[in-house]
Subunit: 263 residues, 2 copies
């Protein structure tokens, strides 16, 4: 009997050309499919919550697939982690309704962008944060970032490469916080356009540098012109940090129970 | 005119066979000497605060040397970081008295040992913490760790390979704390024996497992028998985190002033 499973994993994206399988480049999806194929003996069709770009990390990333395997949910993480390289690890598995799709049923996502704000670089943040040498006023940036909150047409914050037609998104939370030398930008929305978070960060950095006015964001949103926004911030600081569904993807207990009831 | 300088750096030790130069193995010292030699055009004799073992990290590591170079202290970190690989970075430089020796004048050190206490491994702590799957009671371990505090003969917590004769050390602080999934053991002392921190941690883990009694530490200290203590915990969780002198090695302002006064 077939089940639909939802796996939750994290990965350090430094070594990968993003999530989605590509010709001539190693991606997280390819490595993950090989591990799952090795465990199951078949290669199920994977539905992922999102794509990530080259060098972008995920602290939470969800994948759904259908399988005839009878391996209990509680055993999936360990069985897959034995087959995965050290920069990818599964930490959750639960059963979901038939027909569930990790992307179509996703209600929203949160991204985090980490900036190491020190004069000299720090080996422990190498590839894991943007190194920014000049003083950052996190309170001023937090104020400016509030202008992103709400339902807006984000076409000014979308890569030219994108072909998406509907560029309206709703940002429900946006913040800039400092803990010691680490300045963190967080943003939650019902969906994101291509490079949206990195252009939002690039624009805030232009404001920090005094090159853009702190009230420039509503103008860029209104004009919808990518050329008015800041540059795309580097991938290394970006983390997909939360994937929101109508239920908790990490609620393992219920999953295990469901499975036991079936047996 | 010659000056004695004290540099402060940090490094991710994963790729290195410890600090000290060895035949047929890459060490931090070798890589650092090459960078400094390239900057100065000569290879000064380096006095390091300590040695670290293969895979051990340093969040603070101090090196003193004598030089005729007229490069201002404030310029050393950046000039060296341009010449160092991404897993080593200098963040402080100050002038010290002639004859100063980074090891002989060190008053004490603090080490930190990081344990990631989760069921599944986490890519972001790979090589940076010990992964420990089973529950850890940090409050009980903190209590047990207080038995390390004071002046004791630590020969039971010293590798058999050591040839040091005086094995009495004074531990001034010892703690076990949890922040989320991360359990941190910290210990400060006037000096440390070979593998001392890693054996202290290995012993605490035996207590956590119920294999050793929580009050075993005074017995091991008294008998001075390495065979009674726990195993040497893996290198990857260990960080040299503080090096104590009679002054602040990071007090840059005074250094710059001193140098300017001389000029």
């Amino acid at each position: 009997m077939s089940r639909t499973l939802l796996l939750t994993l994290r990965y350090d994206g430094s070594r990968y050309h993003g999530w989605q399988v590509q010709q001539n480049a190693v991606t997280v999806q390819e490595v993950f499919q090989n591990a799952l194929g090795d465990l199951l003996g078949t290669r199920p069709d994977l539905k992922a919550c999102s794509r990530t770009d080259t060098g972008v990390h995920a602290d939470m990333f969800c994948i759904s697939f259908e399988t005839d395997s009878r391996i209990p949910c509680g055993q999936f993480p360990q069985a897959l982690n034995m087959r995965l390289p050290r920069d990818i690890a599964v930490y959750g598995c639960r059963e979901v309704e038939e027909g569930f799709h990790a992307r179509y049923h996703c209600l929203g996502k949160r991204y985090v962008y980490q900036i190491l704000n020190t004069k000299q670089r720090n080996p422990f943040y190498e590839g894991r944060a943007l190194h920014y040498r000049y003083p950052l006023d996190e309170k001023m940036l937090h104020q400016a970032a509030q202008q992103y909150v709400g339902q807006h047409n984000f076409s000014g914050f979308c890569s030219y490469k994108s072909t998406v037609e509907d560029t309206v998104r709703t940002v429900s939370h946006c913040s800039v916080e400092r803990k010691g030398d680490l300045v963190t930008f967080s943003v939650q929305a019902d969906g994101f356009l291509y490079n949206m978070v990195r252009i939002m960060v690039g624009t805030l950095l232009r404001i920090a540098q005094g090159k853009f006015r702190p009230d420039c964001i509503p103008v860029i949103l209104e004009k919808g012109d990518r050329a008015l926004a800041g540059p795309t911030a580097p991938a290394e600081g970006l983390y997909l940090s939360r994937v929101l569904y109508a239920f908790d993807p990490l609620e393992e207990q219920r999953v295990t129970n469901n499975f036991k009831e079936r047996e």
